[in-house]
Amino acid sequence: MSPYAEAVLLQVGINVLLALGYWIAVSTGKYSFGHAAFMAIGAYAASMLTLNFAWPLPVAMLVAAVVAAVAGAVIGWMALRLSLLYLAIITFIFGQLVELLFAQWDYVGGATGMIGMTGTTLTLVYSSIAVVVVYLVLLTRSRLGLAYAAIREDERAATASGLRITRIAVGAFAASAAVTGVAGALAAHQLMIITPSLFGPQQALLIILYCVLGGVQYFWGAAVGAIVLSVLPIWFEWLNDWYMIVYGLLFVVLMIVRPQGLIGRSERSGGGPLLRRLRRDGAVAVEREREPVG
């Protein structure tokens, strides 16, 4: 395989991992705007271990997963009880904060970052994906996955079924952060150089776009989104600076034509939230009519 093809496959694989990780959080209906921070945490944690302590990368990846999961749990514990708007703001600020912290921390090179990490192989990337996919297949078939869906659908109903929402959502957020941290570790050891600014708002936005473009209904929709968004820039290379404009247009068109993403059922014909809302309103109307009667 040519080095070029290998680089592309590594990049695509890491992005798929990012999308799958993000999907775990999204499956509970919670959107984070700072997931790049977990990537940074994983990248730096693993790089410290491989560079300064000569740990093997696979072990460093596991540590990256744990550290990112703890960070995810802490942030989740603070933010997941609040409304989605606050969750968005807090995760976004958290992303900025992490970027700033790494930029100020001399031990990890400050703004110039760390250099010299190697060891990311196709085997490592794709076996990580395999592990995550097995986890996700089991998750979506399990009662835990069902609980995630319940929280996404209706939190009030979920409390009435006895679901401990915060606990469940924090668990999902931590798992999501762990996978994202592993992706960060792999990315660092492919790029060889990392700086805090690599894990800024643009990267956070990209992760969201993978999921939204692919569709959040099924985890493989998010994976498809990541593949498409990783390959498109390569196809559109001849557009040079224009490719961001083409990109933007593509998104606008997609959001109009397929708001549910590339993969997934249409909400419009299937009787999704819109129809449900109509029904609920209908129910309320009937009650209003009845109420004066007593």
């Binding site: 986890y135 089991l138 998750l139 078939r141 399990s142 009662r143 835990l144 069902l146 609980a147 869906a149 319940a150 996404r152 659908e153 209706d154 009030r156 109903a157 979920a158 409390t159 009435a160 079924s161 006895g162 679901l163 401990r164 929402i165 668990g171 299937g270 009787g271 999704g272 939230p273 129809l275 449900r276 029904r279 609920r280 209908g282 129910a283 309320v284 009937v286 009650e287 009845r290 109420e291 009667v293 007593g294």
Partner: protein, 252 residues
């Protein structure tokens, strides 16, 4: 416990919303195995009382006890495993999930639901719960819609599904918020029959309802609220015929 023990007890509960007393010093005792109706005109505090019982509203004063245990400070989630389960006036289903999945979620507190539930081979307990969920679909006449999304069901079946989901938690006390609202005459007949059936199985039920016909047919005991106070209480035949109720509803 003797069959007429107090299963759910509300003592001196007060709740104000921005100075308005929604509930003022309410006492209420629900005997085990009975159907207890709560009636009253709009704004009487019926739904607030149900919200206090189920934990969605925390009272300013007073206490709630379930089988002698003080549950006043427990969140709704923690009341479910103790056997206190409710439905909602406006129906709250997991609309995007299937009918079966809705019932499975009703079993949440009885099942293994953490990371261990990922294990692909169902435990005997899980298999029993799944069989029970299928049986519940039969019982509530939802079996033909098993794999349909809940939001696609007609209104009456959605109400039935909500009750099936509540029953899947194996409640000791079922709190129903306006179960007959929006139902057709046939639907109301079916509801009355179902409540009789559940009562026959020993379930304790608290029902907030506007439909006096339903109340008269299913309740053993009725509490009438007006302006957040207990107006009167007793057997439905006595209470519903009394002057207080007519005054509360008609204002004269």
């Amino acid at each position: 416990m003797s069959p007429l023990a107090e299963l759910l007890r509300v003592t001196a509960v007060t709740k104000r919303f921005q100075g308005v007393e929604a509930l003022a010093d309410i006492d209420l005792a629900v005997q085990e195995g009975t159907v207890h109706g709560v009636v009253g005109p709009n704004g009487a505090g019926k739904t607030t009382l149900l919200n206090v019982m189920s934990g969605y509203v925390r009272p300013d004063a007073g206490r709630i006890e379930l089988a002698g245990r003080d549950i006043t400070r427990l969140t709704p989630q923690l009341r479910v495993p103790l056997g206190l389960v409710r439905t909602f006036q406006n129906i709250r289903l997991y609309g995007g999930l299937t009918v079966l999945e809705n019932v499975l979620l009703g079993q949440h507190t009885r099942a293994r639901t953490g990371l261990r539930s990922l294990w692909p081979f169902p435990t005997p307990q899980e298999r029993a719960l799944r069989a029970e969920a299928e049986a519940a679909l039969e019982l509530f006449e939802l079996a033909p819609y098993r794999s349909r999304r809940a939001a696609e069901l007609p209104y009456g079946l959605q109400k039935q599904l909500e009750m099936a989901r509540a029953m899947a938690a194996r409640p000791r006390v079922l709190l129903l918020d306006e179960p007959a609202a929006g139902m057709t005459t046939d639907g109301r007949h079916a509801l009355v029959e179902r409540l009789h059936e559940l009562r026959g199985q020993g379930l304790t039920i608290v029902v907030v309802e506007h439909d006096m016909d339903v109340i008269a047919k299913v309740c053993d005991h009725v509490t009438v609220l007006n302006f957040g106070r207990t107006l009167t209480e007793g057997p439905p035949a006595v209470v519903l015929a009394g002057d207080e109720v007519r005054t509360a509803y008609l204002g004269t």
